[in-house]
Amino acid sequence: MRRTQGAAYLFLSPWIIGATLLTVGPMAASLYLSLTDYDLFDPPKWVGLDNYLVMFTRDDRFWAAVSTTARYVLLSVPLKLVLALAVALLLNRPRRGGGLYRSAFYAPSLLGASVSLALVWRAMFASGGTVDRLLAAVGIDTGGWVDQPQYALFALVALAAWQFGAPMVIFLAGLKQIPRELYEAAAIDGASPVRRLVSVTLPMLSPVILFNLVLETIHAFQAFTGAFVVSGGRGGPSDSTLLYTLYLYQRGFTDFRMGYASAMAWVLLVVVAGVTVLLFRGARGWVFYAGEER
């Protein structure tokens, strides 16, 4: 047995080395830094829990960022999942050129993380941009979303929702797994298409929905690129696009408060872990696993 283990560890070594040096090491360092006052240039000074105390009790922008991020997650995740599921249902029907449509709808997700796309987004939603002019043409005068505090976050939500490709592909795979007999039986019983969706498709798809929900929620909490590029790194106008990660970045790299930024990163980790646990707890009520007794 030992002989095979040697080879196994040798094979694993690139991953082990990578995980230790690039993930576990930096995480431990960040936990230490979160308890210090560190300005990037001079050696860190130990301050205990001060960073956390200031964050929770005296930092208005921290709470503003928390509430902006909460709104972003609550808006973008459901919108993205509904879009992904709707398109997946459309694409699930056999038709000519189905593969082409799948690729076309997936493409935005490949481009989504890129900076150039966020720049296009900023230009589209700026005052006098494409969206502004289209809306004005039909009589809705908003005057550019990204330049107004009450609308700017919606531009980011739209950017996120548009990148529904990844959950869509997973939904499609899930839809293909649902046995055809269930639909045939339902059709024979006279169930309408809506009824079939609600009583067959959604329950059978619920584990996949949960998977996508958890994944997309975690992603949404970590959203950064869109907000950074659209607001030019400032989180404006008037802090309306100051997502948590953007504020964290500002604290660390613009204000040189890397200790504080590390503390924020750990709070984010704990919150995301907590939200994930809650999602799994809540899932017991609505997720149906095939072969499970109810």
């Binding site: 002989r3 080879a7 094979f11 070594s13 240039f41 550019g144 505090p149 400032r234 106008p237």
Partner: protein, 422 residues
């Protein structure tokens, strides 16, 4: 420990060893050869082209030194630079602004340039003051600039308003606000709302006999700022200055400028950016002095940006030579022109301005015309001023979008500033 190995296991081990080895050798060694410097700055295309040409000239004269240049937009310049410096991968020579010179010096990032081969005797002493801390010279002015109102003469003429541009001409605040309100009535806002930048508030303070900083302390109180923001507020109501949606984008760069975006007919900025405005506006532009009611115009000669050498650079001598070349060499001066304001070296300034054409000439002409109105430099900004500058603009955003009144906004800025300075 020798064991009988099967063919398959040997192959498996070999593959794994190769993979492991490549991950280790990826960290390569250091090669010898000529000295390589890294030089970074931010700015427009015209500045980049001129700087690269000047660097090429330097390399031609010093074949033993190779210079890698890097430049980008102002947006993320300092975040990137700070990260590189903190990670030990900082550049040898860097361009800094007023707020960051103090910040970096305080954090021991910059090398003291006194006693090096650098010549400073021809550079204006009051410009050098911005880089002097505790008797050491940590930054050198890359040029000289002063505040201006850059405006579209066609729009002002169409509204029937005269703008003072010649030497000896000036205007007071009521003439200025009348002018921009009249222009505003004809469609596009008369001027970009100038309440966003602490730089223009600084001028306003000097006109009222105060200053932004008094040593390491604040030189103004909430009432001063409230008064300033009340002026811009009433202009905004009358379309004299831009609406909030245009003002919020301002960062001093030409690509985010409301004037260049055709949302206003004029804008306050430093004359070092006049070349950038002229190349990106697509129309005629001219420069006028800022309005003032008293004798003190509040305008000052100051370095638009400075050069500094990294304390951690392993080629400080070569970096100092490049710096010396950029500010003191006639050939470099000619190539660089007025892309960082007019040259800081008096002899070269006279030379460059004597034969300047196009955009460079516009900067030189403005500097010459305003010579009598421009006071000495305001002096270095203390540590914490970068954060104060950002908080100033952020709070003004809240004011223009109606989320907070000018009085409460001013109080918040003062309070946060006191925290940043302590």
């Amino acid at each position: 420990m020798l064991e009988r190995l099967s063919r398959g296991r040997v192959m498996a081990l070999a593959v794994a060893a190769v993979v492991a080895a490549t991950t280790v050798t990826a960290c390569g060694g250091d090669a010898g050869g000529p000295t390589t410097l890294r030089f970074v700055w931010w700015g427009n295309e015209d500045r980049a082209n001129a700087t690269k040409a000047a660097v090429a000239e330097f390399e031609k004269r010093h074949p033993e030194i190779k210079v890698e240049t890097e430049y980008g937009a102002y947006d993320a310049y300092f975040q990137k630079l700070s990260t590189q410096v903190a990670g030990g991968a900082g550049p040898d020579l860097m361009q800094l602004d007023r707020a960051t010179v103090g910040e970096y010096q305080h954090r021991h990032v910059l090398a003291d340039l006194t006693g090096t081969s650098l010549h400073l005797d021809k550079i204006d002493t009051n410009l050098l003051a911005g880089g002097r801390v505790d008797g050491g010279q940590y930054a050198v002015p890359a040029g000289r600039t002063t505040q201006m109102l850059v405006f579209d003469p066609a729009r002002f003429a169409a509204a029937g308003v005269a703008v003072p541009t010649k030497a000896g001409e000036s205007w007071n605040w009521s003439q200025f606000t009348d002018a921009i309100t009249k222009v505003g009535a004809s469609g596009v806002a008369g001027s970009t709302d100038f309440g966003w930048a602490i730089d223009w508030f600084e001028v306003w303070l000097h006109q009222h006999g105060k200053s932004l900083y008094d040593g390491g302390k604040l030189g103004f109180d909430a009432n001063d700022l409230q008064a300033f923001w009340t002026v811009t507020g009433s202009l905004r109501d009358r379309k004299g200055v831009t609406a909030a949606t245009a003002t919020t984008k301002m960062d001093g760069s030409t690509q985010n400028s409301a004037l260049v975006g055709k949302q206003s007919a004029s804008e306050i900025n430093y004359d070092s950016s006049l070349t950038g405005y002229l190349s990106s506006y697509g129309g005629q532009l001219a420069a006028a002095p800022l309005p003032s009611d008293g004798k003190d115009t509040g305008m000052a000669a100051m370095p638009p940006v400075s050069y500094a050498v990294s304390q951690r650079s392993s080629h400080k001598d070569a970096a100092v030579r490049l710096l010396d070349f950029l500010v003191n060499d006639p050939a470099a001066g000619k190539i660089l022109g007025a892309t960082r304001g007019v040259p800081p070296n008096q002899d070269i300034r006279d030379q460059v301005c004597g034969s300047a054409t196009g955009a460079d000439k516009a900067v030189c002409d403005y500097e010459t015309a305003q010579r009598d109105k421009v006071g000495p430099a305001f002096g270095a900004w203390p540590t914490g001023s970068a954060a104060i500058k950002r908080d100033f603009q952020r709070t003004y955003d809240d004011v223009i979008f109606g989320r907070i009144g000018p009085a409460d906004g001013a109080k918040r800025v003062v309070q946060n500033a006191q925290n940043s300075l302590s």
